[in-house]
């Protein structure tokens, strides 16, 4: 497909009918007129396709959905195909190639209709002597549907060219005619951008892991509140999607924010007024206990392709009962979570939380560290967590229990949160070492933790199966194979651990961490 401009704007002075007749003067076209059908622009709630510079539009035509994925602005086609049903997730694109490309852009987010247009489209197919189509040209007169109203807004008339592979000559001929003789100019704005402007839609800058550029000398209470407010907003944006289980990413982002919030609340008793936050902290814990198990189940469910790849054909079919069991479990837990997160208790929690974040407390009413610079206070926590990791990690050996590794995983995660949120407070060349070493360790501990959880869940499920009368021997065999596979993967993760941990314990690293504190004039709590 040529990398050319394929969308042109029809001058307001030229009526579509005149333009069509003018084109037909020189060439043989087959004509098709479709009126008042709906064209929908699909995107994720955070506009991932738009942000990646592409547009996904879909129309229902002759009982099939015609999907066009094109570049924003030029209209160059990235993919165009018919589909039987409207896809919601990348996994629902039946062809593997498109599935992977779409997943690279939208991840596990669901697609939703963002903008609807009522279209009056005139299609012209350029034909050769065999009546074979060589190019399609569409004159689109679209009206933007104004949400929650019966009104429409008329867009400018656009002319779209759809060159056919292997018929480049025909495309060049028509392009020459419409631009040189017809005077059509490339569309200044993509029709989607035009529709967004009409509707005053501006894709907000959503990021589930916001970057913070805090002033190092800012009072700790204010700096922490800024971070916490960003997470409060993320929770608020994702709560509805998480409750309605629209896609697993809502819950994922909700939990990212909730876990970081809890971590900060628990780690800064010398900044936050304990009494005022007691109830809020309890309620956050209460809410998280409903959300976390579903995230784990989402992960298990996403692992089935991997499970399948570890099994031979004979055992693969035995995954179905496990899949159904997990899916049913998820449905039950989803219902519990929805009840909890739509309850008065949760609403009250979020109201109180917002009130707390919005309210400017007098420093004399707050604990002693609240007024100290955020750089100093965060630095102490980083050093504390670092020291805690070293102490937990040094106690580990090959015989250590999985629980000990999991405890280290939890502490390392907390250090990871701190580095992610506060790294900008410290000189890059000093903190980069720690960030890199922590990430490397975290990756290893995450693997171990996930595999260990999967192992336990599979064992639990196997026991449950064994108690049931209708269980077939091959199902148990399959569970045994998977349990064994997880055990072996866990062992591999354990073997990698010493090397990764060593990076954190190096003398140079300890010196770097110590210097982080010294630079800020914070002493007294020690480091490694």
């Amino acid at each position: 497909m040529p990398a050319d401009q394929l969308i042109y704007q029809l001058p307001a002075t030229l009526a579509p009918k005149e333009f069509k007749s003018w084109l037909e003067d020189d060439h043989v076209f087959e004509f098709e007129h479709s009126k008042d059908f709906t064209r929908i622009y699909l995107d994720t709630f955070d506009w991932r396709l738009f942000r990646s510079g592409s547009v996904l539009e879909i129309i229902l035509e002759k009982g099939h959905y015609l999907l066009t994925w094109r570049k924003l602005g030029t209209g160059v086609i990235l993919d165009q195909r018919t589909m039987k049903s409207l896809p919601r997730f990348a996994s629902e694109f039946i062809a593997p190639g498109l599935q992977h490309r779409m997943r690279d852009v939208i991840g596990r987010r669901s697609l939703m209709p963002q903008i609807s247009l009522k279209s009056d489209t005139r299609k012209l197919y350029l034909l050769d002597g065999e009546e074979k189509q060589q190019l399609r040209l569409e004159i689109r007169m679209d009206r933007v549907v104004v949400p929650n109203s019966t009104g429409y807004l008329m867009l400018p008339t656009f002319v779209y060219l759809f060159p056919y592979r292997g018929y480049r000559g025909a495309y060049q001929k028509i392009l020459q005619r419409i631009t040189a003789s017809g005077g059509l100019l490339p569309a200044q704005k993509d029709p989607l951008t035009e529709a967004m402007d009409y509707l005053q839609i501006e894709p907000e800058d959503y990021n589930n892991r916001p970057e913070f550029e805090l002033n190092p000398d800012r009072e700790a209470i204010d700096g922490l509140k800024e971070v916490l407010e960003a997470f409060r907003v993320i929770m608020e944006k994702n709560i509805q999607g998480a409750c309605q289980a629209e896609d697993p990413e809502y819950l994922h982002d909700f939990l990212i924010a909730a876990r970081r919030t809890q971590c900060l609340l628990n780690r800064y008793p010398d900044v936050f007024p304990e009494e005022a936050l007691k109830l809020i902290k309890q309620d956050f814990e209460w809410a998280e206990q409903f959300a976390s198990p579903i995230r784990d189940l989402d992960i298990y469910l996403s692992l089935f392709d991997e499970f399948a790849s570890r099994l031979d054909q004979a055992h693969r079919a035995s995954l179905r009962p496990l899949y159904e069991y997990l899916r049913d479990q998820k449905a039950a837990k989803q219902w519990q979570m929805r009840t909890a997160l739509e309850s008065t208790r949760y609403k009250r929690l979020m109201e109180n939380w917002k009130r707390f974040l919005d309210h400017k407390q007098a420093l004399q009413d707050l604990p002693e560290a609240a007024g100290r610079p955020i750089r100093e206070v965060a630095g102490i926590r980083i050093a504390d967590l670092y020291r805690e990791i070293l102490s937990l990690g040094r106690e580990l050996d090959e015989e250590s229990s999985a629980e000990a590794l999991v405890a280290l995983h939890q502490t390392s995660k907390k250090l990871g949160y701190h580095l992610e949120l506060f790294h900008s407070l410290f000189p890059k060349k000093k903190i980069a070492w720690l960030v890199e070493a922590q990430l490397s360790l975290q990756e290893n501990l995450n693997s171990f933790h996930d595999l260990n959880l999967q192992h336990d869940a599979l064992l639990k499920y196997r026991q449950k199966m064994q108690q049931e009368q209708r269980t077939m021997p091959v199902w148990l065999e399959t569970m045994d194979l998977l349990v064994e596979d997880r055990e072996s993967e866990c062992r591999k993760a354990r073997l990698e651990f010493p090397e990764r941990f060593k990076k954190l314990t190096r003398k140079k690293m300890r010196k770097q961490v110590r210097s982080l504190l010294e630079d800020r004039g914070t002493r007294g709590r020690g480091t490694a």
Partner: protein
């Protein structure tokens, strides 16, 4: 890209109509599909109104790896392209016989375009030759239309005999009945007994139907000019069976 090929040693058994209709149905379902008309008669090419000509012919394809990419033509159906037939395809064996690993040449030619498509359907010429050996090497499955007659079934035995001598473990053989006329006793008898003998025999039979013959007049797949007809429904069932057996990797059970 998965590769299916319609194949039979015998001619006139419904290879081209199967290839054209399956390619259309695959594209309708969202697979980026390419149909390669390897039969020099060019009937599949004719069905899509494409000119049966490739610049440089089969020799050009051998000389320049980009030639195949340039030969691809879009059809009038979204998601479905075709590599047209060329009369020089009759010289396939002659052109590639002196190549290093002559039976792998077809796959080599496909390499530059493999990433662009989810599915390639090859409509092959009726013979057993170097061209067929190339197809056997490249394809994931052979779709073998069999008319329920003694002669047609005999050619399938010949093919099985060939694979006993030259096994191709990667290749699925998917025979199915084509041009089945339920009013004929012999057809009914063979359709009733044969599937028990052959493993992998598909359940769907394609009927002997006027609509299928009309493809040459309409120059389009049955599903386009006679949707929901008996023939269209039969091809849809056949496509679903094939998709399940060869393409549905994403389903882990």
């Amino acid at each position: 890209m998965r590769i299916l090929a319609t194949y039979n040693i015998k001619g006139g058994v419904g290879k081209t109509t199967t290839a054209v209709n399956l390619a259309y149905l695959a594209a309708q379902e969202g697979y980026r599909t390419l149909l390669w008309d390897l039969d020099p008669q060019g009937a599949a090419t004719f069905c899509f109104r494409v000119k049966p000509k490739i610049k440089g012919g089969i020799t050009g394809l051998k000389k320049r790896s980009s030639s195949l990419e340039k030969a691809v033509k879009a059809t009038d159906f979204e998601g479905l392209d075709v590599i047209p037939s060329d009369f020089s395809f009759r010289n396939f064996d002659q052109v590639f016989s002196d190549a290093k690993k002559p039976a792998r040449q077809l796959l080599k030619l496909l390499f530059p375009i493999a990433r662009e498509y989810d599915l390639l359907i090859i409509d092959s010429a009726p013979s057993i030759s170097l061209a067929s050996e190339n197809i056997f090497y490249a394809a994931d499955a052979l779709l073998i239309p069999l008319i329920p007659t003694t002669f047609s079934v005999r050619t399938y035995y010949q093919l099985l005999h060939y694979f006993r001598k030259k096994p191709a473990s990667h290749l699925k053989l998917l025979p199915f009945f084509s041009m089945y006329d339920s009013s004929r006793l012999l057809h009914r008898q063979i359709v009733g007994s044969l599937p028990r003998e052959f493993r992998g025999m598909l359940n769907t039979s394609i009927p002997y139907a006027r609509r299928i013959e009309l493809m040459g007049v309409e120059r389009a797949p049955v599903g386009h000019f006679a949707p929901k007809s008996k023939s269209d429904k039969a091809y849809k069932r056949l496509w679903e069976e094939i998709r399940e057996k060869v393409l549905d990797e994403r389903h882990f059970f």
